[in-house]
């Protein structure tokens, strides 16, 4: 292969490095206004009155919005297909605020400073209502809130699902050992360095164009249309360059507001949040509490597992129930478990809203189950690697819960190669130190899906054309979030057609020009859109050769297209460039050289990862430092090696945060988010990053483009449990509440001391 598996530099590299790329917040339009939001200081309150007189008097203020003068149409920001029947419970501005950070009002003004100043002058009279912040309390509390109009009703649980197969109770009854844990995972912020931002432009014909660094232009279009009660075709959404997302910009949050402000003021409106707004008022990772019981036979084979989990949807339901569903979908896809029961609920709390987050559901469920496995290994007196090797799935196993086959699942190789490269046995059995600092090693496995197939509708569409200048033009609704999606598509098209990547233009999504597609979500892009692009490319190549056959006066089968040139397989000097061919086709061919391809996948294999880490814990301060990480992945054929390594590096970075540092940390008394700025929400910096080694096992997923499958999400999933396991190995503790802050580690050590003395 010429381009697949190489390290082609990211396509947008030069404009990003030179500072010339215009992200949404860098755009400037004539007569553009700026909007600022006023956010709720209370976790649950009825708005009795809003006095905007002082704000309105500020020179430069154009308009002020609140629940009093905006549509009362309810929507659910998690949908991505028109008419998807998700329960709507959110509106532009609610008369009842449900968390600290909920939207109260907005000021639109000539400039940002004026809007911000005026927003602070709005006077709101609140009637405070009881609030609930803790997941388990919320689960017990049932009724949480209600709008005055009584619609909708915010009542717990939002969802209640059971997945069961085999005979779990019977298997538990014959178990040699049952290991039980309660694991808590935190509410976290994506922390894309670009804050949330949107630019909406009211066009002269009454339509609205929305520029947004989103993950799905169609989701934005459907939700804006719904919130504003406009026909879909009045909204055009253009994907803007994205300064990081990780799921955070997956659901439309600012777009409906910004579009409405623009529609009313009839001017372009920019709405950009500051970091506080991005952390508290957009989306977060659903916190979770899981209780897991696993039954083993005496050889360490898993006989059965029983899990109960509650996910925290936050103040609006969004896709809270889907996150719990995603947790359930992983159950039978990592280990061979013949009997299993999962019961999961999603609940409202008066805290920031949950949504999509890299490793959707997988991060939570793997934390719950992989920490549990470490404890099981300890009690079985087995090495955690050995225990996993006894139970891991094999290629093309069926999903016992009824999902699609696991595909060419090479997790066993990941674990074997990883253990060897990490020198696992020696490191695991090394003394942990008897001084103040203790060392430990831990590992974890993980799986994540490749698209929606098996759970939700899935499709991709691409139009690929040969341009008159000999370049190729791929029109498919792509959203490059910074991972290099555009680059990967260029590699796939170039490889399949026989052109060079710089000849392939890949514009990003625009509802004005693209057919529907779900967007950058569910780890679907490389595997599904990539496969669609590969098939379209092969079809286009066949078309090119058919036309070339006219020019060469031969059969298409006797021609080769390589390096942008066509030549005969039987020698001869004749070369025809793609540009010449395009010109020839324009004049002589009955058809244009263009194909439109619609693709529906029929598989959803797992991507797999095994992660090995070494930590050092300071037993005096409770501070944990990750020293060394080895991550081994089965992603089939990596399309771009450097980009793939970069995904793993970033996934490790985020996973370390999840294990040790990151937490919105909601105050249990006031509902305030304590981790509400970058000085209070800790993100690992360069000196704190451990040594890292990244490996990919030899593997091909036959249903993916050139054997490739997804990486971005699975890359972060095993990190947190591996670190927790390493800390517990170092200390002999069984800590299960993430993140392992110094306070929690010290508390765990104190508890352990007391137990030892008792």
């Amino acid at each position: 292969m010429t381009y697949i598996g190489t390290s082609l530099p990211i396509s947008s590299g030069t404009p990003k490095a030179s500072g010339s790329l215009a992200y949404t917040g860098d755009m400037k339009l004539d007569r553009m206004l700026h909007a600022k939001l006023l956010l709720s200081p209370h976790p649950h309150a009825k708005i009795k009155s809003i006095d905007t007189a002082k704000a309105a008097a500020v020179p430069g203020v154009i308009a002020i919005f609140s629940h009093e003068n905006t549509p009362a149409t309810y929507y659910n920001s998690a949908l991505w297909i028109a008419e998807q029947d998700f329960v709507p419970d959110e509106r532009l501005f609610s008369p009842v605020v449900r968390f600290v950070g909920d939207r109260v009002a907005a000021v639109v003004a000539a400039d940002e400073a004026t809007a911000e100043h005026a927003a602070a002058l709005i006077e709101v009279d609140y009637e405070e209502l009881p609030a609930v912040f803790d997941i388990e309390e919320a689960f017990a509390a049932r009724n949480v809130s209600r709008d005055p109009e009584t619609l909708p009703i915010y009542e717990n649980p939002i969802s209640d699902m059971t997945v069961e197969y085999g005979n779990t109770d019977e298997a538990f009854a014959r178990a040699h050992l049952v290991v039980e844990d309660r694991v808590k995972t935190p509410k976290t912020h994506h922390c894309a360095i670009e804050n949330h931002v949107c630019l909406a432009v009211a066009e002269r014909d009454g339509s609205i164009t929305v520029h947004t660094p989103c993950q799905s232009v169609f989701a934005v279009k459907f939700i804006v249309a719904k919130a504003l009660s406009l026909p879909d075709d009045r909204i055009r959404v253009i994907k803007a360059p994205t300064g990081g997302s990780f799921g955070g910009k997956s659901e439309p949050v600012l777009e409906p507001l910004c579009a409405f402000f623009s529609r009313v003021t009839k001017r372009p409106v920019m709405l950009q949040l500051d970091r506080y707004g991005s952390i508290v008022s957009t989306r977060t990772r659903n916190a979770a509490v899981g209780r897991v019981k696993t039954a083993f036979d005496k050889d360490g084979k898993i006989l059965a597992r029983d899990i109960q989990a509650i996910g925290d949807a936050g103040a609006y339901r969004s896709g809270g129930n889907m996150v719990v569903g995603a947790m359930a979908r992983r159950l039978g896809r990592l280990y061979k478990i013949g009997n299993q029961r999962f019961r999961g609920w999603s609940v409202y709390t008066n805290t920031p809203i949950g949504g999509a987050y890299r490793g959707y559901g997988s991060s939570q469920i793997h934390a719950i189950t992989e920490i549990n496995l470490e404890h099981a290994a300890r009690r079985l007196g087995m090495d955690p690697v050995e225990l996993r090797l006894k139970n891991l799935v094999e290629p093309f196993d069926d999903d016992p819960a009824g999902g699609p086959s696991v595909g060419n699942a090479r997790i066993i190789e990941c674990v074997k190669e990883g253990a060897e490269a990490f020198d696992w046995k020696n490191k695991r059995n090394r003394p942990r130190g008897d001084g103040r600092r203790k060392r430990g090693v831990g590992m974890s496995c993980a799986t994540h899906g490749n698209g929606h197939f098996g759970a939700y509708p899935e499709n991709a569409a691409a139009t690929l054309s040969l341009r008159d200048d000999g370049g190729l033009h791929l029109v498919s609704p792509l959203h490059d979030l910074g991972c290099g999606t555009v680059t990967i598509m260029r590699q796939i098209v170039a490889e399949a057609v026989g052109a060079s990547p710089e000849m392939v233009a890949v514009p990003e999504a625009d509802t004005g020009t693209c057919a529907f597609d779900p967007g950058s979500r569910a780890s679907r892009v490389t595997y599904i859109v990539g496969e669609c692009a590969q098939e379209a490319s092969l079809m286009l190549k066949a078309k090119i050769l058919e036309v070339a056959a006219l020019a060469f006066n031969s059969s298409p089968d006797d021609l080769t297209l390589k390096d942008n040139q066509i030549r005969s397989n039987y020698g001869g000097d004749r070369r025809m460039s793609l540009r010449e061919l395009a010109g020839f086709a324009r004049q002589r061919s009955p058809e244009d050289i263009s194909v439109t391809h619609h693709f529906k996948p029929r598989a959803n294999p797992g991507s797999y990862a095994a992660c090995f880490v070494e930590v050092e814990v300071d037993t005096l301060t409770g501070l944990t430092r990750v020293m060394d990480v080895l991550a081994v992945h089965d992603i089939g054929q990596p399309i771009n090696l450097t980009l793939a390594e970069g995904q793993v590096h970033g996934g490790i970075h985020m996973g370390i945060g999840y294990a040790l540092l990151e937490d919105l940390d909601i105050d249990p008394d006031t509902g305030q988010t304590k981790g509400n700025s970058l000085s209070r929400y800790q993100v690992l910096n360069a000196p704190e990053m451990p040594r890292v080694q990244v490996l990919f096992v030899e593997s091909k997923e036959t249903t993916g483009p050139y054997g490739g499958k997804a990486l971005g999400e699975v890359a972060t999933v095993p990190m947190a449990p591996a670190i927790v396991n390493a800390v517990n190995h170092a200390l002999g503790t069984e800590l299960t509440e993430l993140p392992l802050t110094p306070e929690r580690v010290v508390a765990g050590l104190v508890e352990q001391d007391e137990l030892d003395q008792a």
Partner: protein
């Protein structure tokens, strides 16, 4: 008030208010939007520029404090459209994903190079301590800086 500023080698007269931040002036008044913002409190480094060859967070500097200093933003690095070798190395070595931290990172690296032509890996990591990246885990950024600054034999193989 009118300020005399030296930005990217050019002397400019800019109209600002006394409390205006350098980052705001660069972005809004001079259209130097390569200067990014992620926090406005000195935590993320996206707004890093050079002030007399030192890396500073322009969101923590008042525009008036920049008078009489040489300010260089990422836009001032490329010479006649040819990228600086640090910029080139960033593109080449996977140091750029979403790119939002890149201008700040590149300026932090530039400052390091100006004060220390042969930094150790440790010094490189420390020089980036004030710049957050959420995409790359920093490793390819460190690699890129080493590639730009050091001859191949001085680069460490393992990240």
């Amino acid at each position: 008030m009118k300020l005399d500023l030296n930005i990217n080698g050019e002397d400019l007269e800019v109209d600002v208010s006394g409390s205006e931040l350098l980052s705001d002036v660069l972005r809004s008044k001079l259209d130097l939007t390569g200067v990014k913002e992620g926090c406005r409190e000195g935590e993320c480094g996206a707004c890093t520029v050079l002030m007399d060859d030192m890396a500073v967070n322009s969101c923590l500097v008042l525009a008036i404090q920049a008078t009489g200093r040489r300010i260089v933003t990422v836009e001032g690095l490329a010479q006649q459209d040819a990228l600086d070798k640090i910029q080139e190395a960033f593109v080449e070595h996977g140091a750029i994903q979403c790119g939002y931290c890149s201008p700040g990172m590149i300026m932090a690296a530039k400052a390091l190079l100006l004060r220390e032509p042969r930094p150790t890996r440790h010094a490189i990591r420390d020089a980036l301590a004030g710049n957050l990246c959420r995409c790359t885990g920093y490793l390819n950024i460190i690699k890129a800086i080493e590639a730009a600054l050091l001859p191949p034999r001085d680069r460490e193989e393992r990240l």
